[in-house]
């Protein structure tokens, strides 16, 4: 899968160059894929706590927002002790640490509760933060619209790599990212962002994956399956839950930092609002709850549906394709109430993706409770990485 993600931007540019707009319609753009990476990391961190311990962290956006706000405020020189030119890698790691500390505070209060009550108290904390950051005028002149990185302090994009070594850093971002010419490859700013963000997400995924498969992770699953028994066996479940919450918040903070780093701005509604946690939940359910990698695929699926069914920005999706290829007779065919088919298509395929997402989501909850990855693993009888070689081995003689 890593290899598939690795060649994706090249594949996309080759297919797009073939012309006809078909590839643009069906494949998500590399810009979108970058967003899939950082939000996928957030969804994975959500799954790390909610899918493995069974505690629904409905206020997870608090940690994502912490990460996002922290790097932007550091870059604007608004955080004491940290100069505005702190390397992005350093502020990103500190953002994760800050989110983890916040999780310890929230968790030590919240883990006295369980079930719906846990979901609600974490939601309460996140909403307190949301309202606070929305109306705190220290952050920017109009905190409701969020905070942007000052262009005078940071004319260049944020860099991912080894801090202090210029040759080992590449800047990310749509307009200010680096471009790379290497051998026959010619990577634009979009592709560089894609690879650098993807690299960080990959490292974070491996870290979480190791934790999930360690003895620590087994205890988390034990807590999900039967907490009283885990406690009876002698585990201090409170500490395990708190540790898992802090680790999950750390990666959520990193994800938020990447999000703010790529976009160079952060607003309360796209980072701290409870619907952001809702999106992570959506990704986890579609991808597979308690599978760790699943939420990334869930969010990829989600974004692909959005791009396909609703025109976003410059292009992509079904609407431009239909505009180009549908014959005029079909477009002018009357639908209900004097509306032609063409108008109907314009109404329903322009920016109304949540409608279809909702339907897809409900269908997944009802019919595919294990999610995409859960379903695949169920069919194969194990993880893809284990079963695929075994399956291929049968053909080898």
């Amino acid at each position: 899968m890593v290899a598939a993600f690795g060649v994706y931007p090249l594949l996309y540019s080759v297919l797009a160059a073939l012309g006809g707009g078909v590839a643009e319609a069906f494949l998500p753009r590399p810009e979108t894929m970058t967003a899939v990476f950082y939000f996928g990391l957030f969804a994975m961190s959500f799954d790390f706590i909610s899918g493995y311990t069974g505690y629904l962290s409905f206020g997870h956006a608090a940690f994502y927002g912490t990460g996002g706000y922290f790097v932007v405020l550091v870059a604007n020189g608004k955080v004491p002790l940290l100069p505005a030119d702190t390397p992005f890698m350093v502020s990103m790691l500190l953002a994760g640490v800050l989110a983890a500390l916040l999780a310890v505070v929230i968790g030590s209060v919240s883990f006295r509760l369980s079930g719906v009550y846990f979901a609600m108290i974490t939601l309460g904390f996140a909403q307190v933060m949301y309202v606070f950051m929305r109306d705190w005028d220290f952050l920017s002149s109009n905190p409701r619209d969020g905070v942007a990185v000052s262009n005078s302090l940071h004319p260049e994009g944020f860099e991912i790599g080894v801090p202090g070594v210029d040759t080992l850093n590449l800047a990310i971002g749509a307009l200010r990212g680096d471009e790379v010419d290497w051998l026959f490859l010619d990577l634009g700013a979009t592709e560089v962002s894609y690879y650098m963000v993807g690299l960080v997400v990959l490292v974070c995924y491996f870290a979480m994956q190791r934790m999930v498969h360690s003895p620590f992770g087994r205890v988390l699953v034990a807590i999900r399956e039967n907490e009283e028994r885990a406690r009876a066996v002698g585990y201090n479940t409170f500490r395990y839950k708190l540790g898992a919450f802090a680790a999950s918040a750390f990666f959520a903070g990193i994800a938020g930092a990447l999000f703010a780093g790529v976009r160079r701005s952060v607003s309360p509604d796209n980072s701290l609002y409870f619907l952001v946690s809702g999106d992570a939940l959506l990704a986890s359910i579609i991808g597979g709850f308690g599978t760790l990698a699943g939420p990334l695929y869930g969010w990829l699926f989600d974004r692909s549906v959005v791009e396909f069914l609703s025109k976003t920005g410059a292009g992509g999706g079904l609407l431009p394709l239909l505009r180009e290829y549908l014959p005029a007779s079909v477009v002018e065919a009357p639908l209900v109430g004097g509306m032609t088919l063409g108008e109907g298509i314009e109404v329903f395929l322009n920016g109304h993706a949540p409608l279809y997402l909702g339907v897809v989501f409900v269908a997944f909850v009802l019919f595919v409770p294990g999610g995409l990855l859960g379903w695949v693993r169920n069919r194969l009888g194990g993880t893809v990485a284990k079963q695929l070689p075994a399956y291929l081995g049968k053909f080898r003689r």
Binding site: G124, V347, P354, L355
Partner: protein
């Protein structure tokens, strides 16, 4: 300038009016949770639909001013309640019924998905008729008769009539639901079902039907709340109304104790009063932080969950699991 007593009366009445609104938003939610054990995330969306339906009735049919407009409002509220209640019944029969034997998280997830669908459908319809989905529907606000917009002198204070109207409407609804639950035979069945639905079924009650009726009733209350909010300039009919009402409704329901009618009403009173007092502090410039009301409301949620997880009127064992 009003005197000290007048100020107290003004803040008190505004607090009680807000409390009625919060009670209206939360009653249906608590009723549904009490019997079905489903935390209905679509409740806010149903409220939003109710606001638009009531607004539509008012804008298209309502004529006359003064009491005639209030009469039309009652008709609109009834239409909204019945229509949204119908949507609720369909939701229960078509979707939620399939999930009773799954862990409760799946019902939260399902209703969350339904929220996305309802909100987006509402956005499509609203846009189609050339309205701005994010802004309040001015046309519906404009159907409010003049005397509701004016003030009444009361104990040296000048109280907005809209607040008195909301207060009366809220109190009537709470009393009606209370009378239904305690004074009618069907209410007895509902309470028995909340206590122990298997036992009620064993005694010959068709619990499945009761579930549907209660879900429709809870949804209808959401529609009614929407109708009332449609006239309040602080809320108004808009698509974001869905999440704006969902969160306070959650707070009220949790603070009161999930599924308890009495607790919900008390919690609505508490949250409404706190909202009014903090708003007063902000308006007087004593506190300069503009989000103070919302912030305090969520702090109440966190505080109550820490100190008394089962809520004001909830049973002790509920909080643990």
């Amino acid at each position: 300038m009003t005197g000290a007593l007048g100020t107290v009366v003004e803040v008190f009445v505004s607090g009680m009016a807000k409390a009625s609104l919060y009670a209206m938003m939360a009653l249906g939610l608590t009723l549904i949770f009490g019997l079905l054990g489903v935390l209905n995330f679509a409740h806010g969306s149903l409220t939003m639909v109710g606001a638009y339906v009531a607004g539509l009735v008012m804008v298209t049919f309502a004529t006359g001013s003064g009491l005639a407009a209030v009469g039309w409002f009652l008709v609109a509220a009834l239409v909204a309640a019945v229509l949204v209640g119908g949507v609720g019944a369909v939701m229960e029969v078509g979707l939620i019924r399939k999930l009773y034997d799954r862990p409760p998280i799946y019902q939260i997830l399902l209703t969350f998905g339904v929220t996305l669908v309802i909100d987006e459908l509402a956005r499509i319809v609203v846009l189609f008729y050339g309205l701005q989905p994010r802004a309040d529907w001015r046309g519906a606000l404009g159907t409010k008769p003049g005397f509701v917009d004016s003030n009444t002198a009361l104990l040296g204070a000048s109280v907005p009539n809209l607040e008195l109207f909301e207060l009366a409407f809220g109190v009537l609804t709470v009393v009606a639901v209370w009378a239904f639950l305690t004074q009618t035979r069907y209410g007895l069945v509902v309470r028995a079902g909340s206590e122990d639905d298997e036992m009620a079924a064993a005694l010959g009650v068709d619990v499945r039907r009761v579930f549907t009726v209660v879900f429709a009733l809870g949804a209808g209350l959401a529609g009614l709340a929407g109708a009332l909010l449609m006239w309040d300039p602080a809320w108004g009919a808009s698509v974001p109304l869905a999440s704006e009402t969902l969160l306070p409704a959650f707070v009220v329901v949790i603070v009161g104790g999930l599924g308890t009618f009495r607790g919900t009403v008390i919690a609505a009173g508490l949250v409404g009063m706190v909202d009014a007092v903090t708003t007063y502090f902000f308006n007087e410039g004593i506190i300069t932080f503009s989000g103070i009301s919302e912030l305090t409301i969520f702090l109440i949620l966190v505080g109550v969950l820490v100190v008394r997880p089962q809520g004001i009127a909830g049973l002790a064992e509920v909080g643990g699991h």
